[in-house]
Symmetry: C2
């Protein structure tokens, strides 16, 4: 069985044991729902992770011993998020978020409509006190090193400087919890390392972080560039949700292009086909390391509960890993750590808000 | 000898023949100047491309039969561009731009300080009438297809909607000249394909391009995403200079990371080392295709002359290819084509400017 995002045994071995609240999995969300979602959830159950499926029982097939929370509606991938959450009160996404709110589940996982997952979590769980805007934190794989946390990777298209300071705080807390990095190096995404480089938002955030507005949790290393995202120079990359989403998709596209080209070369001649029998197995660990399925989806930081958003094309393996990430976040108290990171500098954040 | 950016014989075979004005090459600009710059320039001369080196003759070594335009000063890579261009009037960069202005050279090529190269070209050559802001157009390699033109890839950190409409016009004219694409597909970089996706700037530009403000030269295909940049779905990707520069460096970083990881796997065991003797030669065409050196640097579009900006670490091969690209642009009348693309819709552009 694959590594569930670096936290294979986190929940199973935790003190909560069999009494742990389950992770609520949106069975109907994602391009490959419900089949792959159910399969990944059953794998998690087999591995000893408490889970519950949320969806229409008639459409889920055999769910074995995994309980099902009934939900009659489905929010489609291309629906308007806010309207869908408002009107489809019996959707699997909304019901999953309500299960967390009502303490019937420890966390939620969805591979469905990202905006609707965010809206469900935000409207049903609410925000952590003091958080201006939740942000999506994505783990970007770095071969031979811990992943880089990129945030915001799409929740907030337009941002104020104060929000980005909070993203730095929340991103650092998440990198510490998720990857065990004691003092995560936080970089601000810009187009040059010098403080004078960047757009007005970046320059303002630079000044605030340089002046310590991020608080003790943020080890600010200054500006970083696009080429640093997949390197071991930085642990947390802070940016607005527009730029972050463009970066994320650019990385996906570049890796797919390069791998496709490499695989094409492997089948070029009879000689290379023969050599590829040795090479492909040697490359599999790299492919797996760079595969977004490995890292278990993105974490919505700032809502008052654990919400993992897996990508739309999630396989059973991706869902299994996302459930592992969710349990790990719960067992290590991610939400309380986020609360502390943001709250420790409530004064500084309030000061920063004036510039926002 | 390597392919000089798709235009190996453009200048050499043109009607201008021996009477063609030379390309002025900034001999002092770049991390590997002057050695690699001089070497690449000599290769171009050997290939029959008229060239002239600009720099301090005492520091250039043997320049063979290539003429030298003397310049006593050097603008360093990390100098403030505007101040450097203002104060170092006898720098190689400024003298190269003056050679174009004074019709002693057909074009300039520099691997030096990008901002200073832009400022030199802008201050000495001036803008094409009607162009609000010059933009940097970079050719992003796409395996098995023509490259994608990405602009602005760093000249303008903050942009108005009217400027981005002009970038679409200039990018389309450049893609047509540079890669022979009859009706380049122009996409607007955003975080979703729907018109409602994106930040306010992107939404505004979408409306203008959709309404035909780009004029007949722009075949607008709507929003594109980061993953499309290295695909054959689009020929020209329009964005602001902040986002474009982040994308460019993200791609560089991702490709380096993936290639390093693949090469690492090749040396994992004795078996893979043996197999790599077959695989590495099979991969070389891909590596070459994805190597920025192959495509001859970025083009500064909108100044009244041809200015190729090669990346700071340019090798002799990169400079050789950049000179080929410059000659090709001159022989095909790029500047006149840009003038036509922007001027054809001067009314539309003026209308658009109101929204800018």
């Amino acid at each position: 069985m694959a590594d569930p995002g670096g936290a294979p045994d986190g929940a199973a071995k935790s003190d909560h044991g069999g009494g742990t609240l389950p992770v609520a999995v949106d069975a109907m969300g994602g391009d490959r729902a419900p089949e792959e979602i159910v399969a990944g959830t059953l794998q998690a159950a087999d591995a000893g992770l408490p889970v519950v499926l949320v969806g229409d029982p008639a459409r889920l097939g055999d769910t074995g011993s995994v309980p099902v929370v009934e939900a009659s509606e489905v929010i489609e991938m291309d629906e308007d998020p806010a309207r869908a959450v408002r009107t489809k009160k019996d959707s699997s996404l909304v019901r999953a978020a309500e299960a967390v709110r009502d303490a019937r589940a420890a966390a939620m996982v969805s591979a469905g409509n990202t905006g609707a997952a965010m809206a469900s979590a935000l409207f049903r769980m609410g925000r952590i006190a003091g958080v201006a805007r939740p942000a999506i934190a994505t783990a970007i794989p770095v071969p031979g090193s811990t992943p880089t946390v990129l945030l915001d990777s799409g929740a907030n298209v337009e941002c104020s400087a104060a929000w980005l300071v909070q993203f730095a705080q929340m991103g650092a807390a998440f990198a510490r919890q998720r990857f065990g990095i004691a003092a995560p190096r936080v970089g601000l995404l810009s187009i040059g390392e010098e403080a004078v480089k960047g757009n007005p938002l970046v320059k303002e955030v630079y000044g605030l972080l340089e002046a310590g507005h991020g608080g003790p949790a943020v080890t600010f290393i200054g500006n970083v560039e696009g080429r640093d995202v997949m390197s071991d120079r930085v642990d947390v990359v802070v940016t607005d949700g527009f730029t972050g989403n463009v970066v994320l998709k650019t990385l996906e596209g570049a890796m797919k292009t390069v791998f496709d080209a490499v695989l094409g070369a492997f089948t070029a001649t009879e000689e290379t086909k023969a050599a590829s029998k040795i090479m492909v197995p040697a490359l599999m660990p790299i492919v797996a390391e760079l595969d977004p399925d490995t890292h278990g989806g993105a974490m919505l930081l700032g809502v008052d509960g654990v919400c993992v958003i897996s990508h739309g094309s999630s396989s059973a393996r991706a869902i299994f890993n996302a459930i592992g990430v969710a349990h790990h976040a719960v067992s290590e108290g991610l939400v309380d750590q986020l609360r502390a990171a943001v709250g420790a500098t409530a004064g500084a954040a309030a000061g920063a808000a004036r510039y926002g």
